[in-house]
Point group: C2
Chain length 421, copies 2
């Protein structure tokens, strides 16, 4: 019990320090913030060996625990990866500062001037899994937008993250940004996470980055407002009027380009009329690309190597070379399926029928809806946002790929000379 309270008190102290630091950070100039990012970048490169040594500890523990290859790959650092982290920070330094932008400015009849201006959120709580790159990326985006950050990374990357934060802290000593603006929660205790979830006094927003269960845990347990990111159970609907080449190209791209990312396709919904005419070439394409089909009853008739799909297949992301296939006899069935199983991330229709396309784009409730294009474009980089905090799958504050502006809020500055109502 004592230990639990200690952990909570420690995290709360970090919250207070982060909040205090955010006041100073929020007043720095763009140049001061950019200079700091460049200094952190340099120090990461200079100290890459220290970071790699700490990374080794995590990797050894991971091996002992028998983690999967994909997991180990995300965890593993190299000199090249660290140089990439540093370059990422230098890119963020080059982006436009999202704060202190006047959104609107008007004067009431009584002479009171109203300026609506962007300001930093204050303190961002970042909760993520075993990707040490998030430690650097999130810190860069937070500092550039004038926010303090509290980092809570996965326990399997604790040594790597700790080493990275040590470098960031010593770099910050050489800058105008207070060292306290970057807080790292060392405890891997559940109580530490719970404290962060409910620290409304000091934390302005929580951003979970990771799998569905992590995100769900944050949404269900946090009283601090949450920016939901990431889970993409994306569908491609191949309409009866779909162009065959476009359909095949998009299926292959959306499924195989990077199967493990959130904007990859997970379910094909196919109009039966189209399938009757094109099942051979589709089947060949899927087989040649080693895509495993999990089909509904009708799909099993067309796809010779398919296995039966169940609730699990419709509801979850494969994040792998597998796809669920559902056959429908009209658009409404497709819309109903997407409504039931979609995660409001990215949904696409392939059709040459403009009216059907319009109906799909209007009626599907998702951050991004596509007509005749791959869902893979739901990405801050692809859309030209410069850097991405994540892809919001919620409706409040920010939806879809989030750039730096998502880390700001607004403030009304009212300037008068004695106005009363």
């Amino acid at each position: 019990m004592l230990k639990e309270n200690d952990v909570k008190a420690d995290v709360e102290k970090q919250g207070l320090l982060a909040k205090k630091a955010s006041k100073k950070l929020g007043q720095l100039t763009t140049e001061q913030k950019n200079e700091a990012l460049n200094i952190i970048a340099d120090e990461l490169e200079t100290n890459y060996e220290k970071i790699l040594e700490s990374n080794k500890i995590d990797l050894e523990k991971g091996k002992e625990k028998g983690f999967e290859d994909a997991f180990m790959d995300r965890l593993a650092l190299s000199k090249e990866r660290i140089v990439n982290f540093a370059d990422g920070l230098r890119q963020v330094a080059k982006l436009e500062d999202p704060t202190d932008k006047t959104i609107s400015n008007w004067t009431l009849e009584n002479g009171l001037n109203v300026e609506k201006v962007t300001v930093p959120l204050g303190v961002i709580g970042m909760i993520y899994e075993a990707r040490p790159n998030v430690t650097v990326d999130a810190t860069g985006l937070a500092l550039k937008s004038g926010n303090s950050i509290i980092l809570k990374g996965g326990s399997s990357a604790i040594s790597s993250n700790s080493a990275i934060v040590d470098v960031i802290h010593s770099a910050l000593e050489k800058t105008e940004i207070p060292v306290d603006a970057v807080q790292f929660i060392h405890s891997t205790n559940r109580e530490a996470t719970q404290a962060l979830f409910t620290m409304n006094e000091y934390v302005d927003v929580l951003i979970p980055r990771g799998g569905g269960s992590l995100i769900k845990a944050v949404v269900n347990n946090a009283t601090v407002p949450v920016l939901e990111t990431g889970v993409g159970n994306c569908h491609l609907y191949i309409d009866k009027d779909a162009d065959v080449k476009k359909a095949l190209d998009i299926i292959v791209n959306a499924k195989t380009d990077r199967p493990a990312v959130c904007n990859a396709a997970e379910t094909l919904i196919i109009h039966e009329k189209w399938l009757k005419e094109n099942h051979k070439i589709l089947n060949e394409t899927l087989i040649s690309r080693k895509i495993n089909v999990h089909g509904d009853e009708k799909a099993l008739e067309y796809f010779t190597d398919a296995v039966p799909a169940g609730e699990e297949d419709w509801a979850n992301e494969y994040l792998d070379l597998a796809i669920a296939v559902k056959i429908v006899s009209n658009l409404d069935e497709a819309l109903d399926h997407i409504e039931q199983y979609g995660t409001k991330h990215s949904e696409a229709i392939i059709t040459e029928n403009a009216e059907t396309a319009k109906k799909f784009l209007d009626l599907v409730d998702a951050s991004a809806v596509y007509h005749n294009a791959s869902t893979r474009f739901t990405d801050g980089g692809a859309l030209g946002f410069g850097a991405e905090i994540g892809i919001s799958t919620q409706k409040l504050h920010a939806r879809g790929p989030m750039g730096l502006p998502a880390l700001t809020t607004v403030k009304f500055k009212m300037r008068g000379n004695g106005q009363i109502r």
Copy 2:
């Protein structure tokens, strides 16, 4: 236990119906929505007697329970008040439709067109206390912005709200808006509220309207995203360089114009130098306006009729003709006090010193910060927003007075001709 499950199932069914109705509602034209609002307005006027009869039941119960006069006043309806409700709806019909607005539109090098467009949130859950006007106002704003609404009013207004919703439902029969777009939770059971708090599948946002404890209950228990509104523990800081007339005018206006509203002032922070010179006239002014002073130790030396202020006074709204007074010897002390006790609603400085004013406007973390003006201007009507859903005291999605655009989100519509990455 059986009863609890029944209540939960009923509310979930209402959620599903509201969600389904929102699909149709979201596709209606502005004209169809406006026509519906005008028809509801007419029907409210036509059926005012029915509503007043039901209101009588609530008023009698309220009398039996010995509710305060202010509470009874908010609960009481009259023909005139119902006509005002109807006129409010007609005003909302005249406002610009916030949906289907293109925020940006650009084409990637590969030819993929990206349109960022505003769309309704979907389903709004409104949780409020015993003000039957919220039933009408919130319904009007929700429908105009293309959203379904689930209403959960206070139990002491249950008959009035129920009668109003009956009229709205029969009015909707004559319109293109599905009747199911307006759901009213009849159960006053806690389980009904709890079900609404966690119905993430069907409800897109919860908006609590009411006192601090209601809002806290929603924030602490909801997994559905919340738009926090309302609690305003607002401060006026009278700087050493404050103009006496401006200070007195603003103090009187911010405290006495409407003491029970959230943008009224609750604490005066006064620079000791200013107070030494002006305590006589300030004291006279406060006494003449029947404003009771709760002062800190130093304030008690200056304000002859003051009572000592404690933690309760600093932390809470009086919503009455009382004000807490704290004496400081510099701006930083004032900023620290506001940081500790402010609710991020509206904060004002009175000073002729431009540098001090700038520091205050930059450093105070609130939705609205004022220089030489009354905090009473934090109001959608006063700022020209036309109608107000509430005043957001949180930082995500919307901050400060919220007009119709706060009830929308965005969607990226991507139109291609086979683009892949």
